[in-house]
């Protein structure tokens, strides 16, 4: 432990010595080093301190040790991401844990905001996932190429349910708050912190209005942004036609609005001199002349299909944009 403190002191002195000339990469390396040292400090400290059933004791998260343990499979991550919407942050869905039956962990702000959570002990490089770290370790020697080393370390059955507290003072998720509502996983903590206590740095490039602090939120928004074709005269947009009509039937004076890029408009003959051979209707042939409507089982499908087709078109445009946009959002990180 003393060793580690010495190392830390060295580093701090170094960084303090030359404040200006530090390049981006150097900074990153330094922060990585710092974090790894801090982590190791904490882990050793943690191993010294008795870990008891004390909800108040700020017991460090053992999972940080050696870059293991955080159940970071993609499945889990995505599940948690889907689950942890803005709403879920605030509402604790019927948690039945009596106070005292679970332990509360609180991470530091820097830990939460750290881009990497797993660190290589040899070179200090940081990774988001344990699996990525294991892959990296292969480069450090043959002993890391064994199936045992590459295997995912299974998590020991947790003896205690863990809940997390937000470090921000005054937050409802802070353990010191009167109406404390704990967060369930580390990912929840991260998302909550970024959404509630960080400023929103990512903007949707489509509407240029909506801002987000979590990139996943931005991506979810982009899926739905700009797709609302159904427009009311009051300005509200709707994603579905029946929603628009429900809105109009509720209020007086609201009418459906016709968006400017409606394809129908381009077909009208606006000028007198326009010689258009539109399909003229034979006035004399009345009821018998419409086989398409009478005999096919449900031509209505045609209209629904056209809706879905145009959906596909807009969806594909979306996709194209996304591919182009993907790189730009990566740059932001």
């Amino acid at each position: 432990m003393e060793e580690k403190i010495h190392q830390l002191q060295e580093l701090v002195r170094l960084t303090a010595a030359k404040p200006q000339a530090l390049i981006q990469q150097h900074q990153q390396l330094v922060t990585a080093d710092l974090t790894s040292i801090i982590i190791q400090l904490i882990s050793t400290a943690g191993s010294l301190l008795p870990s008891v059933n004390h909800p108040a004791a700020p017991i460090p998260n053992l999972s940080f040790a050696n870059g293991v343990n955080v159940p970071d499979n993609t499945n889990m991550v995505s599940k948690v991401e889907d689950h942890s919407d803005h709403l879920d942050d605030d509402v604790d869905e019927g948690e039945n844990l009596p106070p005292g039956s679970y332990e509360i962990l609180q991470l530091e702000k820097e830990e939460i905001l750290a881009p990497h959570t797993h660190f290589c002990l040899i070179c200090g490089k940081g990774f988001k996932r344990d699996a990525n770290l294991r892959m990296h370790m292969r480069g450090h020697g043959d002993e890391y190429k064994t199936p045992a080393a590459l295997a995912k370390p299974h998590k020991e059955t947790p003896k205690l349910v863990k809940r997390y507290s937000c470090p921000y003072v005054g937050c409802k998720r802070n353990k010191n708050h009167k109406k404390f509502q704990p967060l369930k996983t580390i990912l929840c903590v991260k998302n909550h912190y970024k959404r509630s206590h960080c400023d929103k740095s990512y903007t949707c490039s489509r509407c240029n209005t909506k801002k987000f602090s979590v990139i996943a939120d931005l991506k979810t928004h982009e899926k739905h942004c700009g797709r609302d074709r159904w427009l009311c005269s009051c300005g509200t947009t709707f994603s579905r036609k029946d929603k628009l009509f429900g809105h109009i039937s509720l209020f007086q004076g609201h009418t459906p609005a016709i968006p400017f890029d409606e394809p129908n408009q381009s077909n009208t003959a606006n000028t007198d001199t326009n010689v258009q051979g539109f399909g003229f209707f034979d006035f004399s042939s009345c009821g018998s002349g419409e086989p398409s409507a009478c005999f096919s089982p449900f031509p209505r499908n045609l209209f629904e299909e056209s809706d879905s087709l145009s959906f596909l078109l807009s969806g594909s445009a979306n996709y194209m944009w996304k591919n182009g946009g993907e790189s730009s959002s990566k740059d932001l990180q």
Binding site: D242, F245, P256, A269, R300
Partner: protein, 668 residues
């Protein structure tokens, strides 16, 4: 005559005051109402001109007025009190035309036959004519949702017809529903872009609706609950709405007390189950149309019995069972109108039981009920003495003596259709006793001769319409008798009555109200007969002289001169040439022209004639003209609103009329 007298008086009393100054305008207007043709009146003096200008309420401009909007403007300035503007003769109505219609008196406008206007013109029209109450935009296939939104800004609108406006969608209808809250009559027939959402919104917003036509729309039960809430809805037409099924009707739990007329013809997915639920909920129904719909069984008849106010029912084209018919015969209510036209399974038994019960029947239609015999006719005539309309086309098993009974008992008959029956002169003698008869159809009646028509001429003074299609026993003598006796005749069809000559036409010219003459396949008719008609029948609107081989250009000249109302002509197989057609081009009203297999036509002459006609909307020509007529000419005509129909019909030889009869018997 009256005007002549006035002129004389004026000259005599030059120094004295004009007596017309003492007569109030209302009285003059009343006089004008009685005059048939007001144009001479307006030409008498400046005062009269001014009075006539103020009097006119409806205006039906010729096509040439809309092609130049200065003309239209002058016309409208002359008649400031016009309330109804009928533009059905003008195929070409542009936005600038509509923008010039700034008239605060205008209540109603008919744009059903016009094209080339868009939402711009419509919004100008609606903003300038604040009292617009009735707009007819049928056949507006070019009208889109923006146009509908323009119409929606007319808050005073009460009647709107949008039939065949296929480009309209729920969005446009939604705008109309919100904007035109006073709407009472709405027609959305064939507006295939409208779905349940649009119709439901109409139910929510347009609470004053009395009549709604949703024929052929792809609607389902989802819109019905909203329609049920319309308190004043009296008439609903759901013809061809295949999305409405038994299930939809079963879900109508609440009552539909205001509904009086319901048309559910061609709804293939409705059976007696659906009808049964319908009759439970719509208890006040008076008129029900289930043509080409459910099977008429005893269940159906019994469920229909619940409708205590039912007056009229149409079951055209449905298959009926004998028990079903007898069930109808058991009802408590007494029907006024019944139609079993083209129903299979109608027997003497069933029909007799119906008519015995429903003695107050006014209208009965048993067209193509081929199993009916004399017994039914006897029953009908004896029970239903107040019959006003009887249609029994193709009831071929009925023997000739049955028709005598018609005249004997049914004196109130106004409409009688005996096409393709065995009626003979004795029958006609009896029929002539029906002095109220106005429509008489005797097509393919091979046993009638002039003698029968003489009786008709003597007895049926009120006859308006006479159809003698292929009744070859008729000659000039019979026609003359009819023309002499029935001076109010407006429509006559003597097609394929080969023995007709010019003298028949000369006698027909006495009927000055004649507007339709169909004399196809009468080879003995020549131009002098046509001339006689043209000179005296000024109201002639439709003329069909197909296969009248001896009519040539000299028949066209009097038509061009006198028949200012001529709209529709068929000159196929005649001897008319370019010259004759060119004369016809001066007719301002001519809208529809069919000229097939006319040898005397050349491309240049035809082109000149077609270009000369201002208001042509439909021309049927041989396909070879499609290539031989100059491209620019065709484009010009199409731009003016004319539709070309190209036909490749092979020259047809005449069929023996008797072979028609044989064919119909084969069907059985």
């Amino acid at each position: 005559m009256f005007q002549g007298k006035m002129k004389k008086q004026k000259r005599i009393q030059e120094t004295q005051m004009n007596p017309f100054d003492f007569v109030s305008e209302e009285i003059v207007f009343a006089i004008l109402d009685c005059l048939f043709d007001r144009k001479p009146f307006s030409l008498v003096s400046k005062t009269f001109y001014a009075i006539e200008s103020r009097h006119r309420r409806t205006l039906k401009p010729f096509p040439r007025t809309t092609s130049d909007h200065h003309q239209l403007k002058r016309l409208l300035n002359r008649y400031p009190s016009v309330t109804h503007l009928d533009l059905s003769l003008c195929p070409r109505v542009t936005d600038s035309c509509l923008s010039h219609l700034s008239n605060s008196c205008l209540n109603s406008i008919d744009l059903s036959r016009s094209k080339l206007f868009t939402h711009v013109g419509l919004s100008n029209l609606v903003s300038k004519c604040a009292n617009l109450v009735d707009i007819d935009l049928s056949n507006g296939v070019h009208l889109n949702d923006t146009a509908a939104a323009a119409v929606a800004s007319c808050g005073s609108l009460e009647r709107l017809c949008l039939s065949r406006c296929k480009a309209l969608t729920d969005i446009g209808i939604g705008c109309i529903a919100v904007g035109c809250l006073k709407l009472r009559v709405l027609n959305l027939k064939w507006c295939l872009g409208v779905s349940d959402l649009g119709v439901a919104l109409i139910g929510v917003k347009c609470k004053q609706i009395r009549s709604l036509d949703l024929s052929h729309l792809l609607i389902t039960k989802k819109c019905l609950p909203s329609l049920l809430k319309l308190q004043y809805l009296e008439e609903l037409v759901l013809e061809g709405c295949c999305g409405i099924t038994d299930e939809s009707l079963v879900s109508l739990k609440q009552g539909w007390m205001s509904l009086k007329t319901l048309n559910m013809s061609y709804c293939e997915n409705v059976t007696h189950v659906g009808v049964s639920s319908l009759t439970s909920s719509a208890g006040c129904l008076q008129n029900l149309n289930l043509a080409y719909g459910p099977l008429v069984t005893l269940d159906l008849s019994e469920s229909l019995q619940k409708l205590s106010k039912l007056q009229s029912i149409r079951l055209d084209g449905c298959h009926v069972t004998c028990s079903g018919l007898k069930g109808i015969g058991n009802w408590c209510v007494s029907l006024k109108e019944l139609s079993l036209s083209k129903c299979t399974g109608v027997t003497d038994d069933g029909l007799s039981s119906i008519v015995t019960k429903h003695t107050e029947l006014k209208k009965l239609d048993i067209t193509c009920c081929r199993k009916i015999t004399r017994t039914s006719i006897a029953r009908i005539t004896k029970s239903c003495v107040s019959l006003v309309s009887l249609k029994m086309e193709s009831c071929t098993l009925v023997s000739s003596e049955a028709f005598v009974l018609i005249g004997q008992y049914c004196h109130f008959l106004q409409e009688l259709d005996l096409t393709d029956n065995d009626v003979d002169d004795e029958g006609l003698k009896s029929v002539s006793r029906c002095s109220e008869l106005s429509v008489l159809k005797l097509g393919i009646c091979l046993n009638i001769t002039d003698q029968g028509l003489i009786f008709i001429g003597n007895g049926c003074q009120k006859l308006i319409e006479l159809d003698l299609y292929r009744s070859i026993g008729v000659t000039d003598k019979g026609i003359s008798a009819v023309a002499r006796g029935c001076t109010n005749l407006e429509m006559i069809n003597i097609s394929y009555c080969e023995n007709i000559t010019d003298s028949a036409l000369i006698s027909l010219s006495k009927c000055c109200k004649l507007n339709t003459l169909e004399s196809r396949g009468c080879p003995l008719i020549t131009s002098s007969g046509i001339k006689a008609i043209a000179v005296r029948c000024k109201q002639l609107a439709k003329l069909d002289i197909k296969k009248c081989l001896n009519v040539n250009d000299s028949g066209m000249i009097p038509l061009a001169h006198f028949s200012q109302n001529l709209r529709q002509m068929n000159l196929s197989y005649s001897s008319v040439t370019d010259v004759g057609l060119l004369y016809l081009a001066s007719l301002g009203c001519l809208q529809s022209l069919t000229i097939l297999h006319v040898d005397g036509l050349t491309p240049s002459g035809l082109a000149a004639a077609l270009l000369g006609c201002g208001g042509l909307t439909k021309v049927k020509l041989q396909s070879l003209f499609r290539t031989s007529l100059p491209r620019l000419v065709l484009e010009n005509l199409e731009a003016r609103g004319c539709v070309f129909q190209w036909r490749d019909k092979v020259f047809q030889a005449e069929l023996d009329p008797k072979c028609w009869k044989l064919q119909t018997q084969d069907i059985e």
